[in-house]
């Protein structure tokens, strides 16, 4: 078995939360208005089309009602949030360029080790702006673009404009509209035709200011026959007032290409995590979402795959962990637009300490999409009597000659299982953690090693002391 010393991503500090003194060059006023949006666009020096895009999105956001399904969003106060903060004037490209306190934060997050270890590019989001970026030289030589989204807009305006907002239009949902109006930072990746990026590209996100919304925007374009694995990890320190994270991720997977997008998100207990992630997948191409959701006060996240042409494949693997005071409303959305397309959804949820996890999935097969194969499997594990798990699997199958599989299980940790493991010397917490680790293993094994290790450690940490 491959054993490896984990790269310390510092997530274990998360439970207690650590923060550096806030030192910003610019901090917009709280609240949302046309003026704020214009100011953001102006400060970023954006082209007119982007400013107009933002303003249009703002209008949509203002008009759209709050969703009344999923999690309870009634306590979000949109007027009590900073929509833009720019931490430093200069964008660092090398480690030495970075200001000391930011470096310290990254140190705790283990960015340099991660980089040394195996990473080609690290784009770490500190507040709203990506301040640190590094790219391995051979990536550049291969024509791979890996930038923060703001820089990409400046440096590759045509490529950017061609794809931006095409997968998730501002009108898609209220929070996609909000993101479109005030977005800042995120990653932009372009992989040219036939290029295989053999190291995972990784960005580390972090919210560090009180009441600060984080609205990153990620856009990934995999050209024909290319391959890229993008890894996103998030952590946030604990604050007493509510934070909002509303991200949008758009992915275009061209013919014969394959994109894998892995996420381990561990938001602090006060964050609303409302994310729209979607990929369009063309002929014989493959999109894989691997998604681990921990922490946050409430999460709504349903990675989506639109299978546009024959031979397209989509896979969505997710884990949600809901602890005390948390509601994880996570799932998957798959739409088969074309015949001979396949999809697989595996969802694992764990509820503990009064937490609530829901699987919400949509599987849609359009009229002409014959010979579609789709399977959905959702398993829930409930660790105690006060926790809850729900399943909302929506299916809308319009075509004939399709193979659809659906399986759902809900289980509790068995007394005999626990006794068996304890009889071998493991204490109750260790035994519980081991059972949970086994439960999520089918998804965790798809993550890069050090993320898998971190995810397991995180879950153990969350379970610690909560078992009576």
């Amino acid at each position: 078995m491959a054993e490896q010393i984990p790269v310390n991503l510092g997530i274990d500090h998360y439970k207690y939360g650590f923060k550096d003194p806030e030192k910003y060059v610019f901090k917009a006023k709280k609240g949302l208005s046309k003026e704020i949006v214009e100011e953001i666009s102006y400060l970023k020096g954006e082209p007119e089309w982007m400013r107009d895009f933002r303003l249009r999105a703002l209008e949509i956001f203002m008009k759209k009602p709050m969703p009344t399904w999923g999690v309870d969003l009634s306590t979000i106060d949109f007027d009590d949030i900073y929509y833009y903060i720019k931490p430093t004037e200069k964008k660092g490209r090398t480690w030495d360029d970075l200001p000391e306190d930011i470096k310290k934060t990254f140190d705790r997050l283990g960015i340099p080790e991660a980089e040394q270890k195996f990473l080609g590019g690290v784009g770490a989001q500190y507040e709203s702006e990506v301040v640190y970026h590094s790219l391995r030289k051979d990536l550049e030589k291969q024509g791979v673009i890996f930038l923060d989204t703001d820089t990409a807009l400046r440096e590759y305006p045509e490529l950017f404009k061609k794809y931006f907002g095409t997968v998730v239009p501002p009108g898609d949902n209220k929070f996609a509209a909000l993101n479109s109006a005030v977005w800042s930072g995120g990653s932009f990746i372009y992989v040219p035709e036939g290029v295989h990026v053999d190291i995972p590209l990784q960005a580390y996100f972090r919210i560090n200011a009180k009441n600060m919304g984080q609205f990153e925007r990620t856009l990934i374009i995999a050209d024909k026959g290319s391959y890229v694995h993008y890894v996103e990890g998030c952590t946030a320190p604990i604050y007493s007032s509510d934070s909002l994270h509303a991200a949008v991720v758009e992915i275009i997977v061209h013919e014969g290409a394959r994109v894998r997008y892995s996420t381990v998100q561990n938001w602090s207990m006060n964050v609303y995590n409302l994310v729209t992630k979607r990929a369009v997948v063309y002929r014989d191409a493959t999109m894989e979402w691997v998604d681990g959701n921990l922490g946050s006060k409430a999460t709504m996240k349903y990675p989506a795959v639109f299978l546009m042409e024959p031979g397209a494949r989509g896979e969505i693997l997710s884990i949600a962990f809901a602890g005390k005071g948390q509601h994880q409303d996570a799932g998957a959305k798959v739409i088969h637009f074309a015949p001979y397309t396949t999809s697989q959804v595996i969802s694992k949820s764990i509820s503990q300490g009064g937490g609530r996890s829901s699987y919400r999935g949509l599987l849609q097969v359009k009229e002409n999409a014959h010979h579609v194969k789709a399977s959905v499997r959702c398993d829930a594990l409930i660790l105690d009597d006060t926790s809850r798990s729900d399943t909302y699997p929506y299916m809308d199958i319009k075509a004939k000659d399709v193979t659809i599989g659906h399986e759902a299980t809900v289980s509790k940790i068995g007394e005999e299982q626990l006794f068996y493991l304890m009889s071998r010397g493991l204490d109750e917490n260790e035994a519980m953690a081991l059972i949970v680790r086994g439960f999520i293993e089918p998804v965790v094994k798809e993550l890069p090693m050090e993320y898998a290790v971190e995810l397991n450690r995180l879950i153990e940490l969350q379970m610690e002391g909560s078992i009576g």
Partner: protein, 261 residues
């Protein structure tokens, strides 16, 4: 007291499950180096004794004590007992999907030893023990008991015993569900562990395993009490007559003798 140090001692053990009295005063002493067999018909309380000794939370001790090497373990949790050197080979081992045999065994070994064994050393040890039990190396990568055949589960139990090296091992119906080849391999595995540092309690309905693992003492459990104890010949007698002789031969004197012995 000193001669009590090196033994697993069960004193007047009364146990109930869901308010039903199952064990009604069991006395038994297993010294290191000894092999005891506990036989009895279905429902006599054999598996209850096994689970109780290991500390199953559902088995309530209403009276009596369990001592291990001079320490009272009656109120200890299963993991504390395991770390003190007690082992139970389960009749029905639980399945734990997603957890590999190797991973589980390493955690168990670390827990029992109280310190982490280097990974390479562990794998060497594991594969050595697996080879002795004629287990394919791929076994280590399978999920714990998940989809195992009856024989594989039992072999896996003995593998754990071989790795954890307990001071006292209880084998609960280890022979059940085994074909003759598997029974031989499992028995050989146990025999390799037999020695002056290990006390063994074999719980069995049939005496077939006792052809392979020779007990020093045989006890008969009936209706929650040990009603007869003897040497290996008692097992032979049981084989010939079955458990019926208990019903016919049960006299007050036998009962008393058993309880006091």
């Amino acid at each position: 007291m000193s001669e009590k140090e090196n033994c697993l001692r069960i004193v007047d053990l009364h146990v109930q499950v869901n308010d039903k009295k199952i064990l009604k005063g069991v006395n038994l002493e297993i010294k290191k180096g000894e092999i005891h067999a506990l036989m009895g018909p279905n429902g006599s309380g054999k598996s209850t004794l096994a689970a109780t000794l290991m500390g199953h939370p559902n088995y309530k001790i209403t009276k009596g004590e369990i001592w291990l090497d001079g320490q009272n373990i009656t109120d200890l949790s299963p993991d504390e007992r395991a770390r003190m050197g007690l082992f139970l080979a389960f009749q029905y081992p639980s399945e734990v999907p997603g957890v590999t045999v190797a991973n589980f065994l390493r955690l168990a070994l670390n827990a029992v030893r109280g310190k982490d064994i280097p990974v390479l050393e562990f794998h060497k040890l594991l594969h050595e023990k697996m080879k002795e039990l004629k287990m394919d190396p791929s076994f280590a990568k399978r999920y714990l008991n998940d989809g195992f055949s009856g024989g594989e589960k039992k072999r896996n139990e003995i593998l754990q015993m071989a790795l954890l090296q307990p001071k006292y091992a209880i084998l609960d119906e280890t022979d059940s569900g085994l074909d003759i080849d598997a029974l031989r391999i499992v028995s050989e595995g146990v025999n390799r562990l037999v020695g002056p540092d290990l006390g063994i309690l074999i719980i069995t309905h049939y005496q077939r395993i006792l052809h392979y693992i020779e007990p020093h003492y045989v006890h008969v459990l009936y209706d929650g009490k040990i009603i007869e104890s003897g040497g290996k010949e008692l097992a032979d007698k049981l084989e010939k007559t079955g458990y019926d002789f208990i019903h016919s031969n049960r006299s007050e004197s036998v009962l008393e003798e058993a309880q006091n012995g």
